[in-house]
């Protein structure tokens, strides 16, 4: 592999829009960063915050949650629930010092392969710039139990 840091991003793609967007990107032979590893869920609303935490804990440098555009959800409004959960999750992650760019929510309809590919490219570069996460090492003190959160990792203005 090349010398530069290749981030690993776990993508949770909803079956109806974004998974098919990724299918379409492939079918259209749109080339994008191979750093995102997709996991299919029926709806982005299925993405339990613990999936995101698990992925980060297991060594992912970033997590992308992708769903149908708001108002276009195959299950009427599952993605709205994702949106609400996501903003809560992001506040939580911030308190652990995880940068916003590492966990992103993306909307891509089944016909927007190019959009999804561009989002993966963009996110890969953002996470590459941030460097490896190594969450277990840096935040959780190496053994899976929280000791203390290093002060420099807490963004200003966030209560711990």
């Amino acid at each position: 592999m090349s010398e530069q840091f290749e981030p690993v991003i776990v993508g949770f793609l909803c079956n109806w829009c974004s998974y098919r967007a990724a299918d379409l990107a492939g079918t259209s032979r749109i080339k994008y960063a191979p750093n995102m590893r997709p996991i299919r869920v029926m709806c982005s609303g299925r993405v339990d915050p613990q999936f995101v935490l698990k992925a980060l804990l297991e060594g992912a440098d970033g997590v992308m949650i992708a769903g149908c555009h708001p108002g276009e959800c195959h299950y009427v409004e599952g993605n709205i629930k994702t949106l609400r959960r996501f903003s809560l999750l992001q506040r939580l992650l911030r308190q652990w010092g995880i940068e916003d760019e590492r966990v992103q929510l993306v909307w891509a309809s089944a016909s927007e392969g190019n959009l999804l590919a561009a989002a993966v490219d963009r996110m890969t570069e953002q996470v590459r710039a941030l460097g490896p996460l190594r969450w277990r090492d840096t935040v959780l003190g190496g053994n899976g139990h929280v000791h203390e959160i290093p002060v420099e990792l807490v963004p200003a203005g966030e209560e711990v």
Binding site: W16, Y19, T27, I39, M42, Q50, F51, A55, G59, S109
Partner: protein
């Protein structure tokens, strides 16, 4: 560690996968992973030999789980589930890793692609170990169907189904069925009279015992799923009692109010405030246009009511909400014409003698505003020269990038009709490319070449009335580069016809949401597969036909209407279908009765039992999105085939290579 025995199959897909991913390496590596008993790579896993490989291995190696790394599960999940089942396993003990669409086709970096393929395979292996055998859910299909849109596509769909003996509800927004085809004069390339071939079909629809025609109506709500849709239709008030009206037309005759007919006559003629769009309208009942009715404006007039011989006029009539139960839905909502005003340099709306194609279509129609005479906007002068501008709003990045498919042919038809009606007129067709694919279409083009039409290859830059040289005064000047001779040309003409393209309906987005399916960037409905499944949609039980899917001419629309109804017929005659058992289930013992999930469910599929204080999922209503599963604070809800342990294991597997990066394992 579990005792599951997993077989892993890596597909080359010719060179589609093997050209980028080192399949031998992945398969060799997979063979050394935990749980994996056997790993193979094969040229085409989806071939019958590939599938037999799986079946044999299940029997010979005692496999209990199968993983195929190939294309998207949307392509071949069914195929391999079948192979797994034939091997003697429950079909859901199979998992697919998408290493083609999501990997080999998405990158040129062979090393990274191989690494990603390994991760996806590992994710699938870790996941499949936790798979549970599942049984598909049988669902009964209601034999009644709904067809939305009464254009030629909807008519042909409705008739096919009705003739097969199934009941159809046909919903049409306008007062009459017929759609755009009813407005046309002739059809290319045979020059059949459009009304003559359409109206018998319309009458058949109107009289068919198996068709309930709901005109002047719109679908307001759709609930349910394949086999069991409940559709709410708003039947707008016509202010005419349909059981009394004989369609005699006296009300129309006596109505004192003239209104410009913007819809059917494209603004070239008048209709009354109570009207039928055209004499052959089906149903025959007129519609009272409240916005223009003197009685509704000023409280007096009632001429229609006074003269109606059967007392059918009912000013008190209200919109009706009708609920119907159907098993399948066919959408044939058609297209809108491109608004020529959006191309200001062509002068429509500013220069009197610039016409749109629909205006001209009405003009040449024997039952149209001029009785079929081709005249200028003044209503009397016959034009001596006519320019027909192709591709207005089509094949243009500023408007629509796509080709509208029908404009070349109808422009040729116009040229022919001009030659026929105004024998001495000069006709200039300005085209970018002449697109005439279709039976008899190219021959029609040749016929026009012989009829003396001037064909100028070049997109028109401008239509103007400012004369620069003698001979241009009082004329419209069409300026274009003739790309065949490489020169700018200015052609003075009396009349310009803009061949406007086809666009998706202005409200196609809302319609697609209503029926829970997708539309593309241009607003056309998205088919399940562009090549192999052109009339089905991503939503089971919802089909599309005609120009709502993309620009189409009449024969294509008829084909799609019939095709969609064939799909529906096969579902009806099957009676029941098996649905994916991807459903949520609440473990009553673990449920704390917090009721968080109750509000999460978009289908109201979760009920709360007051007596036992626990919630329960109604399996028939559950669609399997899993939103409740993610929300349950007690982890009491299981989402079959997407359980927590399955997804969490997949996460572990997909991160197999970076997990080792972690310093201290837990």
């Amino acid at each position: 560690m579990s005792e599951e025995r997993v077989g892993v199959y890596i597909c080359h897909c010719g060179t589609n996968i093997a050209g980028t991913v080192n399949v031998e390496e992945v398969s060799h590596w997979a063979g050394e992973q935990p749980h994996v008993v056997i790993a193979r790579d094969y040229k085409f896993m989806c071939s019958s030999l590939g599938q037999e490989l799986i079946e044999q291995d299940i029997k010979e190696h005692g496999l209990t789980r199968v993983v195929v790394a190939a294309c998207s599960p949307h392509m071949h999940e069914k195929t391999f589930r079948g192979a797994t089942e034939r091997g003697g396993l429950n079909p859901f003990l199979f998992e697919m890793a998408n290493i083609r669409e999501h990997d080999s086709w998405a990158t040129n970096d062979k090393e990274m692609a191989t690494q990603k393929a390994k991760a996806l395979v590992m994710g699938a292996v870790e996941r499949v170990v936790h798979h549970q055998p599942l049984e598909p859910l049988p669902v009964d299909i209601n034999p009644n169907s709904l067809v939305v849109g009464g254009g030629i596509a909807g008519i042909s769909a409705a008739l096919e189904l009705a003739n097969a003996g199934y009941h159809v509800y046909l919903v049409e927004r306008e007062p009459s069925i017929g759609g755009h085809m009813a407005q046309l004069d002739k059809t290319f390339p045979t020059l059949d009279c459009s009304a003559c071939i359409l109206t018998p079909k319309m009458v058949e629809v109107g009289q068919h015992p198996n068709i309930t025609l709901l005109s002047y109506s719109e679908v307001e709500n759709v609930a349910g799923y394949i086999g069991n849709f409940t559709v709410t239709i708003r039947k707008r008030a016509r202010y005419v009692n349909e059981s009394l009206c004989t369609g005699c037309g006296i009300c129309e005759e006596k109505c004192p109010r003239k209104v410009i007919d913007e819809v059917f006559e494209a603004g070239l003629s008048f209709r009354k405030a109570i009207y039928r769009p055209f004499p052959q309208a089906v149903p025959k009942f007129p519609v009272l246009d409240v916005a223009n009715c003197t009685y509704f404006e000023r409280g007096k007039c009632k001429a229609c009511q006074i003269f109606c011989p059967t007392e059918a006029i009912d000013f008190e009539q209200q919109d009706q909400l009708i609920q119907v139960q159907v098993g399948n839905i066919i959408l044939a909502t058609g297209f809108d014409l491109f608004d020529a005003r959006r191309v200001p340099q062509y002068g429509f709306g500013r220069l009197a003698n610039v016409f749109t194609s629909l205006e001209f279509e009405r003009m040449v129609n024997a039952s149209g505003p001029t009785g079929g005479k081709i005249v200028l906007r003044d209503g009397t002068t016959q034009p001596e020269s006519i320019a027909i501008v192709h591709c207005v709003g089509s094949r243009d990045k500023n408007y629509n990038e796509y080709c509208s498919k029908v404009c070349c042919m109808y422009s040729l038809k116009f040229a022919h009709l001009v030659h026929e009606r105004v024998p001495n007129a000069e006709v200039y067709n300005f085209y970018i490319d002449m697109r005439t694919p279709g039976k008899g279409y190219e021959e029609f083009y040749h016929r026009l070449l012989h009829e003396g039409t001037h064909f100028i290859r070049g997109r028109v830059a401008e239509v103007t009335d400012s004369a620069r040289m003698p001979g241009e005064e009082g004329k419209l000047i069409v300026q274009a580069e003739d790309t065949l001779i490489g020169k700018q040309r200015r052609i003075p003409v009396d009349m310009v016809i803009l061949s406007t393209g086809l666009e998706a309906r202005h409200d196609s987005k809302e319609i697609s949401l209503l029926f829970g399916m997708g539309c593309d960037f241009d607003g056309f409905f998205v088919e399940r597969h562009p090549k192999l499944d052109p009339v089905a949609t991503m939503t089971e039980g919802v089909f599309i036909a005609g120009a709502c899917q993309g620009p189409k001419d009449i024969p294509d629309s008829v084909c799609q209407g019939a095709a969609a109804s064939a799909r529906v017929s096969s579902l009806i005659s099957r009676g029941t279908i098996l649905m994916e058992p991807v459903r949520a289930h609440i473990e009553a013992e673990s449920c704390s009765g917090c009721r968080i999930c109750n509000n999460m469910c978009p289908y109201n599929a979760i009920v709360f039992h007051e007596d036992t204080k626990v919630s329960e999922v109604i399996t028939a209503l559950c669609q399997g999105c899993g939103t409740c599963v993610a929300a349950c604070p007690s982890a009491a809800i299981t989402g079959a085939h997407f359980t927590n342990i399955q997804v969490l294991s997949e996460i572990e597997g997909i991160l197999w290579d970076v997990r080792e990066r972690v310093a201290v394992p837990v």
